[in-house]
C-alpha cells in the first residue's frame, strides 16, 4: 500500500487520514444528532465524542440509552460491539515494543478504526520509532479534532442531515475503501473475503457479535493462506 511520503511524518499522517475523516465526518454529525436526541442533552452527547471516542460505541450507547436499557446492559453491548479494538491494540503492540507507559495510554485512547488502518500500513514500512510516533500523532490528532467537531455540529444542529449521510449509506463505502487499502497481498485478501462472507452469514446475531467471529475466521484464513504461499 502507498502511504504519503513527506518530510514531516506528522503531516503525512494528517494527509493520509483526511479522506477517511471527510467520509466519516457526516457519520459523526449523524451520531451527534442521534445521541443528543436520545440522551436529551447536546452537551452529554458531544462529550461522548471525546469521552467514548468510537463511533460504534457512541451509537450503541445512544440507542440503548434511548431504549431505557440498564447500565450493565449498555456496558456489555459496548464491550461486544467494540471488542475489535482490543485486536487493534494487540496488532499495534507489535509495532510499539518498549514504548513508554505514557505513550501507550495516550496512543491507545486515540486508536479508532481509520487511524488503525493508516497507522498499521505506515508502521509496516517504517521501522524508526520517532517517525512512527509522529505519523501516528499527526493522523490521530487530525482524526480526533475532526470527529469531535463533527459530533458537536451534529449535536447542536440536530438531525437535519439527509438520510444519505446516515450510518447505513456513507459509512459502508468508507469501510470498503479501508478494506481495500489494507488488503495488500494474497493472504490479506483471503482474510478479507473470508471475513466478509462470514459476517454476511452471521449478520443477524445480536449486538453485532458475528463481527468478532467473522474477524477471527478471516485472520485464520489469512494465516492459512500465508502458509500455503511459503
Amino acid at each position: 500500500m502507498e502511504v504519503t511520503a513527506d518530510r514531516d511524518p506528522a503531516l503525512a499522517g494528517a494527509r493520509d487520514i483526511l479522506p477517511l475523516l471527510a467520509a466519516l465526518a457526516p457519520f459523526g454529525m449523524a451520531i451527534g444528532a442521534t445521541a443528543a436526541a436520545a440522551e436529551g442533552s447536546a452537551l452529554a452527547s458531544w462529550a461522548g465524542s471525546w469521552l467514548i471516542y468510537g463511533g460504534t460505541a457512541q451509537l450503541v450507547t445512544a440507542q440503548l440509552h434511548d431504549a431505557g436499557a440498564a447500565l450493565p446492559a449498555i456496558a456489555l453491548a459496548v464491550l461486544v460491539a467494540n471488542a475489535r479494538l482490543s485486536l487493534f491494540g494487540a496488532a499495534m503492540a507489535t509495532h510499539w515494543q518498549g514504548t513508554s507507559l505514557r505513550w501507550r495510554l495516550f496512543a491507545g485512547y486515540l486508536l479508532v478504526d481509520p487511524l488503525y488502518v493508516v497507522a498499521a500500513a505506515h508502521h509496516a514500512g517504517s521501522a524508526d520509532p520517532t517517525t512512527r510516533r509522529r505519523y501516528y500523532l499527526g493522523a490521530g490528532l487530525t482524526m480526533w479534532v475532526g470527529w469531535v467537531a463533527a459530533n458537536g455540529a451534529g449535536a447542536v444542529g440536530g438531525g437535519n442531515l439527509p438520510d444519505f449521510f446516515g450510518p447505513a449509506v456513507l459509512l459502508p463505502l468508507a469501510l470498503v475503501a479501508m478494506t481495500l487499502r489494507v488488503s495488500i497481498d494474497r493472504p490479506a485478501r483471503v482474510a478479507a473475503v473470508t471475513a466478509a462472507v462470514v459476517a454476511l452469514a452471521l449478520h443477524g446475531l445480536p449486538m453485532r457479535s458475528g463481527l468478532l467471529i467473522a474477524g477471527g475466521a478471516g485472520i485464520a484464513a489469512g494465516l492459512r493462506a500465508e502458509g500455503g504461499r511459503s
Partner: protein
C-alpha cells in the same frame, strides 16, 4: 445525570478495550503466531464491518439500497487502481447518489 453516567461508563469500557492489549503486550516478547496474525486483523475486521454495513438494514432510506451497492462497486473498482483513498471515496459517493436518484 443518567446521560453522563452512561457516557462515562461507555467511555471506560471503550478505553479499556483500546489499551488492555497495549499494556499487556508492549513490554514483553510477542509470540510469532500473534505477530503474524496481527497482519490480518485490519483486512479481516474492516471487511467484516464493510460486509455487515452493506447487508440489508432497516436503517436504509427508501430507494437507496441500489445506490449504496453501486457506490461500493465503484469504490472497489477505483480503489484497485488509485493510490489515494480520496478518489475512490469521491467516485463512490457520486455513484451512490446517482444510483439512489435513478432507482425508483
Amino acid at each position: 445525570m443518567r446521560a453522563w453516567t452512561v457516557v462515562l461508563a461507555a467511555g471506560v469500557v471503550t478505553y479499556g478495550l483500546k489499551v488492555s492489549a497495549l499494556l499487556v503486550l508492549s513490554r514483553r516478547p510477542i509470540p510469532d503466531g500473534l505477530r503474524r496474525a496481527g497482519a490480518y486483523v485490519a483486512p479481516a475486521m474492516m471487511a467484516a464491518l464493510a460486509a455487515s454495513g452493506l447487508a440489508p438494514s432497516h436503517l436504509m432510506p427508501n430507494g437507496a439500497e441500489a445506490g449504496r451497492l453501486l457506490g461500493a462497486v465503484v469504490v472497489t473498482a477505483v480503489a484497485l487502481r488509485a493510490r489515494s483513498m480520496l478518489l475512490p471515496l469521491g467516485a463512490g459517493v457520486v455513484a451512490c447518489l446517482l444510483g439512489g436518484v435513478l432507482t425508483p
